[in-house]
């Protein structure tokens, strides 16, 4: 193990390390903790310039209550879910198939199609912006959740294909050959042999895509406009305009908006990290 395990070092080093851990964490998360502190303060603290002292009263319930019952925030959150969940299902379903096709079959254009998915996944969003916005307008899907979902599915298929294909490549190929000898059709091999083995990859990708799509801001701004279809990342700017200078409410709103992917990360940590670091180890 590198660096040298701390247990094998002098007692003084161990104590220093144990003391530094929480300090470093406090420093690292400082800006975020500040927002959390803001979100439980009463409005009066800000007019009295009591920014960093103790809250003069604990108003967490009131502030978060305002966010949930007196603003469009629940609407935005619901939109975010209605955009994110179908995207996850769609992108994972499509990429299970493309990943299977590129991972199992040998045909001449295989590697070029694979590279096309990879390259497309890296292009700057701006080069897609005008044509995608036009296409969405023409389909009559501008300012709808469906329009956003369709684009997200298509774009995420690039990354998901890269992921699935590499995962399937690492599966034992003998399984598929054995099934073929038995005369099982290709579709059944996909459904009954390969898909059950892909469960960990599906879990990892789902968590990752959930986070990516939940946190998307650019496409939300380009393809949607009002509270009826905007997800929370775009909605929070209107929210902040509504509560201008009410820092306690803006802070509470930010925390609420950030929470779902955070919860997802903590619940599915193992899958999340497995997905993120695929390929980081040989």
């Amino acid at each position: 193990m590198f660096p040298k395990p701390i247990e094998k070092q002098p007692r003084a080093a161990q104590i220093t390390y144990q003391a530094m851990l929480p300090l470093a964490l406090l420093l690292w998360l400082g800006p975020l903790l500040a927002v959390a502190l803001f979100s439980v303060k009463p409005a009066a603290d800000f007019t009295n310039a009591n920014y960093w002292g103790m809250p003069s009263s604990f108003e967490g319930a009131f502030n978060y209550g305002q966010v949930f019952f007196n603003s469009d925030m629940p609407r935005y959150l619901l939109n975010s879910f209605l955009i994110t969940v179908p995207t996850v299902i769609g992108a994972v379903a499509l990429s299970c198939m493309t990943g299977f096709a590129l991972g199992i079959y040998k045909f001449r254009s295989n590697i070029w199609i694979f590279f096309m998915f990879v390259a497309g996944n890296f292009v700057p969003f701006q080069i897609l912006m005008v044509p995608v916005r036009d296409l969405t307008l023409e389909l009559g899907l501008y300012n709808t959740k469906t329009g956003l979902v369709l684009f997200h599915i298509a774009f995420q298929t690039g990354f998901c294909t890269l992921f699935m294909r590499n995962f399937i490549r690492a599966l034992p190929f003998e399984l598929i050959e054995a099934a073929r000898v038995e005369g099982i059709s290709e579709w059944r091999i996909f459904w009954y042999v390969v898909l059950p083995l892909m469960k960990p990859a599906i879990a990892a990708l789902s968590v990752l895509i959930f986070t990516f799509i939940w946190n998307d801001y650019f496409w939300a701004v380009v393809l949607t406009q009002g509270a009826e279809s905007q997800p929370v990342t775009a909605g929070i700017t209107s929210f902040n305009a509504q509560f201008r200078a009410a820092y306690q409410l803006m802070s509470a709103g930010s925390i609420v908006a950030a929470l779902p992917p955070v919860a997802m990360f903590f619940l599915m940590q193992k899958h999340f990290i497995a997905g993120l670091t695929l390929g980081a180890v040989k």
Partner: protein, 308 residues
Amino acid sequence: MTAAVDAPEQESWFHRNQQRIAPWLFLAPGLLFFMVYVIIPVFQSFNLSLYEWDGLGAAEYVGFRNYENLYWELYDRDAFYISLKNNLIWLILYLAAIPAGLFIALFLNQTVWGIRLYKSLFFFPFVISQVVVGLVFTWFYDPTFGLLNEFLGFFGLGPLNVLGDERFVTYGIIFAGLWPQTAYCMILYLTGLNAVDPEQIEAGRLDGAKSWRMLWHIILPQLRPATFIAFVVTIIGALRSFDLISIMTQGGPFGSSRVLAYYMFEVALSEYGFRMGYGAAIAVILFLIMLCFIAYFLWSMYREEKGH
């Protein structure tokens, strides 16, 4: 009766060619989506950059005039080159996330009590949306109550209006961006460190290699795959920087924090009217910059594939 005779005939044709047809059937839906929404739009943007178009009326073919206007900055003074320069600053400074992530990973790669929770909490900034990161850092930099100025005031310095000062604004935003990016690199390195061969470390220790030499000669070579991915995601992240700029400064003050990605958005969908062709030209330039890196990534992947 004929149907019963025909059916096995057809089935057997499909059966015989199944392994050639199957991949295309599996690819069809994903490929179709990806073509329509990603690949074709890239070419459409190239085409559009040769036109002048307000998004509503008829598009007028203008050849390379959009590019000439960019080159001479005829429309917006001090916009294109400042954006380009800022993109370069982003590209270079964003790479600091890689050594910073490695440093934190080395710091956390221990097995003391509760370390798992520490690792998760250090990873936290990557999970929250860039919009929230932008808001958090806007308040962090705030000249009246921001933590930064509280801190500077402690040493008798400041106040400093980071986001309102043309000299500091881009660096301030990049610093905010480094926060989640460092967390990402950290997690890549933590996974990489987990897989480092313990025997080599022991051998190095027996040879009396000191920490730094050990890191450089034994650990880092084994972390190469992690470094490669960290490099890829950091470069892409730097060139995609849009959310933070949009939230923190909207390109200001006086356009001094714009990057090409933001400038393009502003031109194509601003309140001052839509200049789609001109925007497309900016997007094409950004795309060409990215293409250099994409080509390099694909080249590395290609060599890797051949190696197997």
